[in-house]
Subunit: 400 residues, 2 copies
């Protein structure tokens, strides 16, 4: 059975693959055991990523909110298809390179959830022409003026969100300021703009330490946005979409009343950081870096592995909780700690004496990275695994 | 004039380009101003990288030591050609992917300066067959046993170095232990191995704070290696090559007497870290990340730029000197500090009030990254600049 979702045909029996891209049953991929994989390598556990995406569908459905998943964590067509499932084919991207990549993979409702700058308008115009819906984001009058005059000059009507600061204090307008309403009015009244609505990212949820702190942020995120949408309505600016999203708040929020859509992204893989702040369990983490033991140094109780900063990234993890930098979690070996990284080496220590005989040279280890978005971005391809079998390879888009 | 260096023809009048790869005068590259470049982007200043490579030639010549430059910082054929100049075409790599890439670019004397593991031996054997000299590195009897038996079984004679720990304490044998001499004897006596010599990396030079501390490490690096080579000779093991190298020690060492070759790599680009520890000045840094201002937040005295963790990496820089994490140096704007990074955003603060009018939205900034090796690895291509003109694009190899 083929469902029609927007202009895209989606087959829910096939993990949300788009029509025309469906692989043959059994496919041509030569399955192998992870023992045959060159290290370091990035592994995606198919059953876990499927479970994570399914749980987010269920949450969104239960809370009656649209899911417009972010694809910046994985940047692959395959995971994006799992994220949309049989639902809407709408996604969120962080770069123009992602926008083009997913456009060519058949996605045609894309929010570029990143502050647009004047230099990017010609490309944004091309993307607007190339797909059904392409939405841009801005948060200041200078950029609005550039969008307005570019649109007029080139006969383009940009669909544009106003980015709102709901407490993260990175980008976005202050929703309590009169000038933020003025900016919304300008978008609303511009012939070169379709006012798409308001959008926020509750990035301060990443400073939380547990579920209850995350819940507070989620409540604030919703409250700030619903209040600002109301202010706009009172001022004669209809707000078609109220868009929120961060993985921690999307995982725990108890209500999205008044919110139109959520845009979580990291939840597909999760990571050590998300487990530490309480977004998930370590068992939910779907992405691991496969590495091998390459040296034994019993005199200083250390192992060396072939996952360095170019495999794990130097993301320090949840230092606001641990006050110390450990680079990820070694699957099944909680006593092993990756204490430092150079370009291609990781140094592993242990709280208890390392049983070197259990970790011979060449032995495989799997690391849950601190930050899966940054680790994934270091790999030209991902190995898709079921248990210890590699069943496919997926290629992410890179660049900007 | 064409010089013959090994089997490779090198034209020194052309920046060390290999014959057959020399571009036409004037070339086909459509030069542009950096204002036309999409951001974030990785820029390589051609005159600075040329000057840095020239200075390292001069140092090596003056100290009468062979230069076998490491290519892991840039991973491009073009910079490697600048590094070898009219000299030997010998280079050092950190991954098998680099080995294949540079082999296909005409380099045929490559040291894979990374602990080999049994799983990589089939590929190492192929590389040994594919080029004139391919050298592997090991530091323990288990790996030697695997190399020996693989070589015997497949009729391969591996050229192998013993990695020595000269004080960094990451990988390498302890040169004061009798078992290290035993290992060298095993390599020397194996029919499957050509004992290439001893090799070290003085990575502890990165813990230094100034030139005099680096000089101490360089003196120790040389002393440890010369002493160990002497011990081997006394024990009947001739040591054909004594190989050392780290950019800080290569830049400052006053003698390499008894050392055959040095393997610095980072010196081609340098970075904020190298400037902080005294390896170079900020003006020597040849690699910058080009970024644009994408937001003004005067209420909290912040700018946002479009260089985040996927452009600069999360390398914290010389925290052993500064005790604080600042992500790189903003060229020409020393008062601007990048205080935090998320995936695609950098948050910039200033010690003095930010003159926002000097940094309008869309304004270009150039960041000297903390760690050029890690930043370079995040970009699919580099823009080569002379002043503010882009004159070429270079593509690095990725993966393992």
């Amino acid at each position: 059975m083929i469902f029609v979702s927007g202009q895209i045909f989606v087959d829910p029996s096939n993990g949300g693959m788009l029509k025309g891209d469906i692989k043959e049953e059994g496919g041509l991929y030569q399955a192998m055991n992870i023992e045959q994989v060159n290290t370091p390598a990035f592994l995606v556990d198919l059953s876990k990523v499927t479970r994570n995406t399914q749980r987010m569908f269920d949450r969104a459905r239960r809370l009656n909110v649209r899911l417009r998943p972010h694809v910046k964590t994985h940047k692959t067509a395959e995971v994006a298809r799992l994220q949309i499932g049989a639902g809407s084919a709408a996604i969120t991207v962080s770069t123009l390179a992602e926008a083009w990549f997913f456009q060519s993979a058949g996605f045609d409702d894309i929010t570029y959830a990143y502050p647009i700058t004047p230099q990017k308008l010609p490309e944004a115009a091309e993307l607007t022409r190339a797909m059904r819906y392409f939405h841009i984001v801005l948060d200041n009058p200078e950029t609005f003026a550039a969008v307005h005059s570019f649109g007029r000059a080139h006969g383009i009507r940009f669909s544009a969100f106003i980015k709102v600061d709901c407490g993260y204090h990175r980008a976005g307008v202050d929703p309590e300021k009169a000038e933020s309403i003025t900016l919304a009015k300008q978008l609303h009244d511009s012939e070169a703009v379709e006012f798409a609505g308001i959008l926020t990212h509750a990035g301060h949820s990443y400073r939380c330490r547990n579920r209850s702190e995350i819940l507070e942020v989620a409540t604030q995120e919703r409250a700030v946005m619903v209040r600002f949408a109301g202010l706009l309505e009172e001022n004669g600016v209809a707000c078609p979409t109220v868009s929120v999203g961060s993985t921690p708040t999307a995982v725990h929020a108890e209500s999205w009343e008044g919110v139109s859509e959520i845009r979580p992204g990291n939840y597909v893989f999760f990571d050590k950081f998300q487990a530490d702040i309480g977004s998930c369990s370590l068992d939910d983490c779907a992405a691991t870096v496969l590495t091998r033991v390459i040296g034994h140094y019993p005199d200083r109780s250390q192992l060396i592995i072939d996952a360095g900063a170019l495999a794990l990234s130097k993301d320090p993890g949840a230092i606001h909780i641990h006050n110390t930098v450990i680079f990820g979690a070694v699957l099944g070996n909680p006593q092993l700690k990756i204490v430092s990284l150079s370009q291609e080496h990781g140094v592993v220590e242990s709280e208890v004496p390392i049983p070197f005989e259990e970790h011979p040279i060449g032995n495989l280890l799997r690391i849950i990275p601190n930050h899966s978005c940054l680790a994934a971005a270091l790999f030209p391809k991902y190995y898709v695994v079921e248990e210890e079998n590699v069943v496919d390879e997926w290629s992410p888009v890179r660049g900007w």
